[in-house]
């Protein structure tokens, strides 16, 4: 495989009309054409104009990434497509809820690590915690891995949301 064909991960933000079926169109495009979805988040971001922002993390060769963007852009309800990975510096965040069950030293250690990761305790029982942790996907993943040795019961992750740095939109 030549270097040009190496795959890389891209974070793509898509502004769409918030209408029934739009998510199916986007997801169907990815499955129908055999593209990867590593993470996908969607929510309404502009109530007045009824727009939603979809953030997709995907991977592929440069040619495939270019295709993904062109294919997204030609969907009728899509307003704009931005490849944040190549458009300059950007920030990515993910939120996770992490449930840990345990007592004694394990419970204390979980709480100590949560403090290191600036995770918040949002639910507590005498034998369990639910932590809320935010950060890059790497940080969230590291925290979850650490918790698995300390009584991890369940994880919920939002997937990545992302935005460019600086004053420009997107």
């Amino acid at each position: 495989m030549s270097p040009a064909e190496a795959t890389s991960s891209h974070t793509i933000a898509v502004l769409v009309d918030n209408e029934p079926g739009i998510l199916a169109r986007v997801v169907g495009l990815f499955s129908g054409r055999g593209y990867n979805i590593e993470s996908l988040t969607v929510a309404q971001t502009d109530a007045k104009q009824n727009l939603s922002r979809i953030t997709i993390v995907t991977s592929g060769t440069p040619m495939v990434i270019e295709q993904i963007k062109a294919q997204l852009d030609r969907l009728v309800p899509v307003h704009r497509v931005h490849d944040l990975t190549i458009e300059g510096p950007h920030i990515e965040r993910e939120l996770a809820l992490v449930k840990v069950k345990g007592t004694g030293e394990k419970r204390v250690e979980a709480l100590r690590l949560a403090d290191v990761f600036r995770a918040k305790v949002i639910d507590a029982k005498t034998d369990s915690f639910v932590f809320e942790v935010t950060g890059t996907s790497d940080k969230v993943q590291t925290f979850v891995s650490l918790m698995s040795a300390l009584g991890l019961v369940d994880v919920g992750r939002t997937g990545v949301v992302a935005m460019t740095r600086g004053g420009e939109a997107f």
């Binding site: 079926g21 062109a70 899509v78």
Partner: protein, 588 residues
């Protein structure tokens, strides 16, 4: 009725919207969910309705209508099976970029999702096989949605659009909303005007070429007749060779010396070798389909490639492009001609002379040659004779899919756009006959011929009833070799001659079949009778089936075997190249 009450039902409003979109003909089939629309159609006389015998045929007929007129074709089918039967046609229209608006009935909104009688998730099913689709949930959205659907279907790269219409929406009342002109869609605004800098760069590259070739496709036809004129003008200004894709035939006159014929899997030797050897490739409105490129790794390895396309997703999809130009083919050609003239560019005449000498040598191989004997009719001969008799008449050709389709593309000559309708991308057997109906509806006085195989024609044979009802004098010219010829050919070349399920058992007597539907049936299998039969077919002002018995063993050449490169093409039966690679075997 008081003044405040809205005047029209959803169904009436729909008909009004169609008339405002300049629709003249609707191809359809009624059913429970669309009864209100059929009631509205009954009460008016502006829209003509053609009752087909199967919903798939309705879409193909609308495609034939659209491709021969440049207008949007309109289909009306009921919910459930009506909509699912239309899916093949919609996919066909999507693959070949044909503007179609398909109205589907739907169960009333309060029953959606309840598995009601004749309910299907039509927007879900048609999402991947349409350019866009709508489910209208309130009558207040109906007129606006119809206008938007027509805009989407015809703008940018054209395609099929479905509007799903629940029955209660068709019966509720609302005021009519006429279309806004010009349309300003909030998100869908395809780029049609090219970037002038790119045009400059392209022109420089084109002028300096030593071994250039134009490779043009359906995008030129879709841009309108003016684009074909501009293409012809520009190609003649440069003196460069040109080849057309299956979809592009007719956009450059086939009789011109600069025309190399069709390219691709069954394209000419000269066209494919020119593509392989060229140093500058000028692709206008074609999409580097796998039937064109053959083995991608060895596709035109030494050329700089210019690609003009209205759809940015077509660029760099299969083949790496050096100079992409997003825009409408006609507008791009107009700019190219302007810049070419303004710069007073001269081509490299010496290099061009050598290039043409090389091309003439390839042409000299006479790759379409066949041996016509006295006993059996060669399919190629049948088409050459057909062309001889129709060439001076106003004629339109449609085809089904298979060997006959490729022979038609090779042996009929297309001098103008919009006169050749064939299923390219999807390869839909059963396309040609209903498409011919649509063409005949649009051009009542023209000679419309469906070049068919005996297997394909069986896939929409029920439409004989439609042509009888509307007295559509469509001609069905069957090249009958009693095999699914292309399947048989591949089995011969790739599967050791094991003709599994490709022999057409129990074929009908096509002459009596035609007569049963009030059409005329003719038959011959003698070369000496062929001309007489064709002349008679043309004379009869009714639908005609001509059953031409042809050589059963004839294969379609030239052929680039699946997975092979352009230079590995087989020219005839004696030309067995190396066995097809394992990679090639898995290709379609």
């Amino acid at each position: 009725m008081t003044a405040e009450e809205p005047a029209t039902t959803g169904a009436d409003l729909l008909v009004k919207a169609l008339i405002d979109e300049e629709v003249e003909v609707v191809f359809g089939y009624p059913g429970g969910a669309v009864l209100p629309i059929y009631d509205s159609l009954f009460k008016q006389n502006r829209l003509r309705h053609i009752l087909v015998r199967h919903e798939q045929a309705a879409v193909h007929a609308a495609e034939g209508y659209a491709r021969s007129t440049g207008k949007v074709g309109v289909v009306l089918v009921t919910s459930g099976p009506g909509a699912t039967n239309a899916v093949t046609g919609l996919t066909d229209a999507l693959m070949d970029s044909v503007p179609v608006v398909c109205l589907t009935g739907q169960v009333p909104t309060h029953l959606i999702g309840n598995d009601a009688f004749q309910e299907a998730d039509t927007t879900g099913i048609t999402r991947p096989c349409t350019k866009h689709n709508y489910l209208v949930k309130a009558v207040g959205d109906l007129a606006r949605t119809v206008h938007e659907a027509f805009y989407v279907a015809r703008s940018g790269r054209p395609g099929p659009v479905v509007i799903d219409l629940p029955k209660d929406v068709l019966m509720n009342k609302h005021d009519y909303e006429p279309p806004k002109k010009p349309v300003q869609h909030k998100s869908y605004r395809p780029q049609t005007k090219p970037d002038p800098k790119k045009i400059d760069e392209a022109i420089e590259l084109i002028a300096k070429a030593k071994r250039p070739v134009f490779y043009t496709g359906g995008g030129v036809v879709n841009s309108g007749p003016k684009a074909s004129k501009l293409l012809t003008q520009f190609v003649r200004m440069t003196g460069y060779p040109i080849t057309n894709t299956l979809m592009g035939l007719g956009s450059f006159p086939a009789s011109d010396k600069q025309f190399l014929g069709m390219l691709g899997m069954h394209g000419t030797y000269e066209a494919n070798l020119a593509m392989y050897q060229c140093d500058v490739m000028i692709n206008i409105g074609a999409r580097f389909d796998d039937r064109i490129t053959g083995k991608i790794a060895e596709f035109s390895p030494r050329s700089k490639k210019i690609h003009v396309d209205i759809d940015p997703s077509s660029i760099n999809k299969n083949v790496r492009i050096d100079l992409p130009i997003v825009g409408d083919a006609g507008l791009v050609l107009e700019e190219m001609i302007k810049v070419w003239k303004a710069k007073q560019l001269k081509t490299d005449l010496k290099a061009l002379k050598a290039w043409w000498a090389q091309i003439e040598e390839w042409r000299g191989r006479n790759c379409l040659a066949y041996k016509q004997g006295k006993e059996t009719i060669k399919p190629q001969y049948a088409l050459e004779r057909l062309y001889h008799h129709i060439k001076d008449r106003d004629h339109y050709i449609t085809t089904e899919v298979g060997q006959h389709q490729m022979w038609a593309a090779q042996f009929l000559k297309f001098e103008q756009p919009n006169h050749w309708m064939t299923s390219g991308g999807l390869g839909t057997m059963g396309y040609g006959f209903p498409a011919a109906m649509g063409v005949q509806v649009a051009h009542p006085d023209a000679l419309v011929i469906d070049v068919a195989g005996e297997a394909s024609i069986m896939m929409n044979i029920q439409e004989l009833s439609t042509v009888a009802q509307y007295r559509l004098p469509v001609k069905i010219f069957i090249l009958n070799n009693q095999y699914m010829g292309m399947v048989r050919q591949w089995q011969e070349l790739l599967h050791g001659g094991r003709y599994s399920e490709s022999y057409m058992e129990s074929l009908p007597d096509f002459v009596r079949l035609a007569e049963a539907f009030g059409a005329v049936g003719l038959r011959t299998d003698k070369p000496s009778d062929l001309d007489g039969v064709i002349e008679e077919m043309i004379k009869i002002k009714k639908p005609v089936i001509v059953d031409v018995g042809v050589d059963k063993a004839e294969n379609c050449f030239p052929m680039i075997p699946a997975g092979a490169a352009h230079y590995e093409m087989l020219l005839g039966p004696d030309d067995r190249a190396k066995p097809v690679s394992e990679e090639g075997m898995v290709l379609v």
